[in-house]
């Protein structure tokens, strides 16, 4: 290559400043009394791992928007949607019952609200994720919320994952989870591996187009083997 200026130099083109594409992800976390102790501590540490792991990927940390809804003594929007580059993991404490039905409904409402904001701002977005983690079963009315989220999953409106911890009632959870994606059981309290998987899956999803099936990394690193 000589120093002479090329007859065609693409670098003179300047790129459009578009808002970054977004990948919304809601963490729906059980903070009922039974989670107190080791479980809530490991969950808190796991959230930190999730944040750190996504932040290793610069583009993903600007694209993935996380929101946290907890359900225990109350259903609470602990963290409204925020891109991971701005996100600091909250410290959760555990108390009360398991109002999962109300929490699912709030998550779906927040998601619709967020999509409207994206549309108004001309921001393109990925299929949203809702990731539910519980060590029990709902103590409120949950059938209508389950019907609602399953219908949304079938319309490809959301990718919904259900993770059971410890003594979680997997047969009830199976009625809440999408038919094609049964609940999985967390291996012990290994929230760290689960959140690493989630962060790399979000990275993958925020990469390329998906067709009929979603190719995600295997969950075997963090799920318990069930007979």
């Amino acid at each position: 290559m000589s120093d002479e200026s090329p007859e065609f130099d693409a670098k003179v083109a300047s790129v459009a400043e578009n808002p970054e594409q977004r990948c919304p992800c809601i963490l729906l976390l059980d903070v009922s009394g039974s989670m107190d102790g080791a479980a809530i501590n490991q969950l808190n540490a796991g959230l930190q791992t999730f944040r750190d792991s996504i932040r290793k990927n610069e583009l993903a940390s600007m694209r993935v928007e996380v929101a946290i809804i907890t359900f225990g003594k109350a259903v609470e929007l602990k963290q409204d949607f925020i891109t991971v580059d701005q996100f600091d993991a909250p410290i959760l404490s555990a108390r009360g019952q398991t109002p999962m039905g109300a929490a699912i409904n709030l998550a779906l409402d927040k998601l619709e609200e967020r999509k409207q904001i994206y549309k108004q701002a001309g921001i393109s977005y990925f299929r949203p994720w809702i990731f539910l983690i519980t060590d029990g079963e709902p103590t409120d009315e949950w059938h209508s919320a389950a019907t609602r989220i399953q219908a949304m999953e079938e319309r490809k409106g959301v990718t919904f994952f259900v993770v059971g911890v410890d003594k979680a009632n997997l047969s009830t959870l199976a009625q809440i989870a999408p038919k094609n994606r049964p609940p999985v059981k967390l291996n012990g309290l290994d929230f760290a591996s689960m959140f690493i998987w989630l962060s790399s899956s979000l990275g993958k999803v925020s990469d390329s187009k998906i067709g009929a099936q979603v190719a995600l990394p295997p969950t075997s690193d963090w799920t318990a083997i069930t007979a």
Partner: protein, 271 residues
């Protein structure tokens, strides 16, 4: 930071093109995320100058979820261009309906090519899922076909830029309509306009984020104008394509997109 160099695909400049009055500068470049996963570059492009007044070009973007996405994109792009070449050798349409019929048949032929390949390899059609954008650029017509995402942008004689074809309306940026879907022929968009344009750009969605305003779907003039302006002066198309590929692989572009990306620019030589 990524140390590995991305895979770069440049379509060979054939003697017909080199001898013609057309200028084509194009490249497909592997996305940074595909380097990491790793996945090959699943974008492909192809083009052919049929004579001094007709040029055909195609861009295809293999779906990340498809097992043979790379082959699917390459086969679809090449078949689309070959089909048009053969069809126009028999007869050149003179009205809109005939042009549209030709592009529809071209898309069916590209899909049939993938079906053939699937059968040969005991795979299913879905394994070859890809988008497809086709443009036939003549002295007095601009004809396009489009399934899935990506875009075609034209520079008009008066200097204005226009988005000629764009992604079909899907809600999520990571979901798209492939050539291989059952109802493809009714979802794909086919257009034929009796218009002479100055230059044309075909791109996969990886380049859309940096060149088209997402808020109102308009081309970004500071991106296209400097590129289109340089086309008439290009003598060495291979070297220019290499330069384009380097730009597409640069941090400036990769900061906004980690997907595979393709850009094919078509213009006429300065006379």
């Amino acid at each position: 930071m990524i140390a590995d160099q991305p895979e770069i695909i440049l379509y060979p400049i054939d003697p017909d093109l080199a001898a013609s009055k057309w200028v084509v500068v194009g490249a497909s470049v592997q996305g940074t995320n595909h380097i990491k996963i790793p996945l090959p570059c699943q974008d492909a492009h192809a083009y052919k100058a049929l004579n001094d007044s007709i040029l055909v070009a195609a861009v295809a973007d293999g779906l990340g979820s498809a097992m043979y996405a790379q082959a699917g994109a390459q086969l679809a792009a090449v078949r689309a261009v070959t089909y048009v070449e053969q069809a126009l050798a028999a007869a050149v349409p003179s009205d809109e309906d005939a042009w549209i019929q030709l592009v529809r048949d071209c898309f069916l032929s590209a899909c049939a090519r993938l079906e053939e390949e699937a059968l040969k390899n005991q795979a299913v059609l879905r394994d070859y899922s890809t988008t497809l954008i086709l443009a036939i650029f003549t002295s007095d017509w601009l004809v396009t076909g489009h399934i899935g995402d990506g875009a075609t942008v034209a520079s008009l004689e008066d200097g204005g830029l226009v988005l000629v074809s764009q992604a079909q309306n899907e809600e999520y940026v990571n979901v798209t309509f492939p050539l291989t879907m059952p109802d493809m022929i009714h979802i794909a968009e086919f257009k034929a306009c009796p218009i002479r344009v100055k230059a044309l750009a075909l791109m996969s969605d990886g380049m859309q984020q940096v060149s088209i305003h997402t808020a109102d779907n308009t081309p970004h003039p500071p991106f296209f104008e400097p590129l289109f302006r340089q086309l008439p002066g290009v003598k060495d198309m291979h070297k220019a394509s290499q330069n384009l590929a380097e730009f597409m692989a640069s941090d400036q572009i990769c900061a906004h997109t980690d997907d595979d990306k393709t850009l094919v620019l078509i213009g006429r030589q300065r006379v």
